[in-house]
Symmetry: C2
Subunit: 114 residues, 2 copies
DNA sequence: CTTATTGTTTGCCAAGTGGTGAACTGAATG
DNA sequence: CATTCAGTTCACCACTTGGCAAACAATAAG
């Protein structure tokens, strides 16, 4: 829908699915064709291709077809942009935690499950 | 729906929305009541409460009601778990990049937009 | 008690997601 | 040419998401 090549919305959405995260993990070890990527999953090719499309539109992977084989590879730069957002937020929190550490010290460490 | 207190699925899903990311950013500066959180957004309370519920079920925030005011705060531990997954993946890729750097060197730096 | 404030719940709806099976295209292979 | 193999497209389906309006608590303030 969007022509934008990268957005946090689409990147995090792409990561919010265990199938797609598993594909990312696999591609971290090197490029692979669609069929090899799809094999571990109990799912038809059409459904799997939808996941690949989500990943490609998010900018997290790139694909290229040569002959009848489409080869997929990772685009680590876009993955690190998502990581950057998270680490920036954590840095923001740590600044606040440092600033307020005196009287809300317990609240910072209080995140056990209730 | 799920009793599980934390999963990458729900955490990344919660982050895949600009409204919810803005709430996270705001809460990084300190706790806040629902009304104050909702004010910047052009959206009714019911819709905003759904976003808050997604955030709370993902474990990224916690809420507590005292009197008629519900106060929300961040749970940074769960945010950093998502960050950890991303940095682990990047580390995996860097290991592979190092290993194969000799003959696929150009592919690693090839991720400009096509 | 009355009223305003702050959530909360309940229906409802349009659009998106995640899967299926079946039909199809286009490149290798015999 | 005939067949298989890899991928693609299509029509369809159940379910979820993200928004609304309206009615409904429950607490605080006058």
């Amino acid at each position: 829908m969007e022509n934008c090549s990268f957005s946090l919305d689409t990147a995090f959405h792409a990561l919010a699915d265990s199938t797609r995260r598993a594909v990312i993990s696999r591609l971290m070890k090197g490029p692979a064709p669609v069929k090899e990527l799809a094999e571990p999953f109990d799912m038809g090719l059409p459904a799997f291709l939808k996941h690949l499309r989500v990943l490609e539109e998010s900018g997290l992977i790139a694909t290229e077809k040569s002959g009848r084989v489409r080869t997929c590879r990772i685009r680590p730069k876009h993955l690190s942009e998502a990581e950057t957002w998270l680490s920036e937020q954590r840095a923001l929190w740590q600044a606040g935690a440092d600033r307020l550490a005196t009287y809300v010290e317990n609240q910072m460490t209080e995140d056990e499950d209730e």
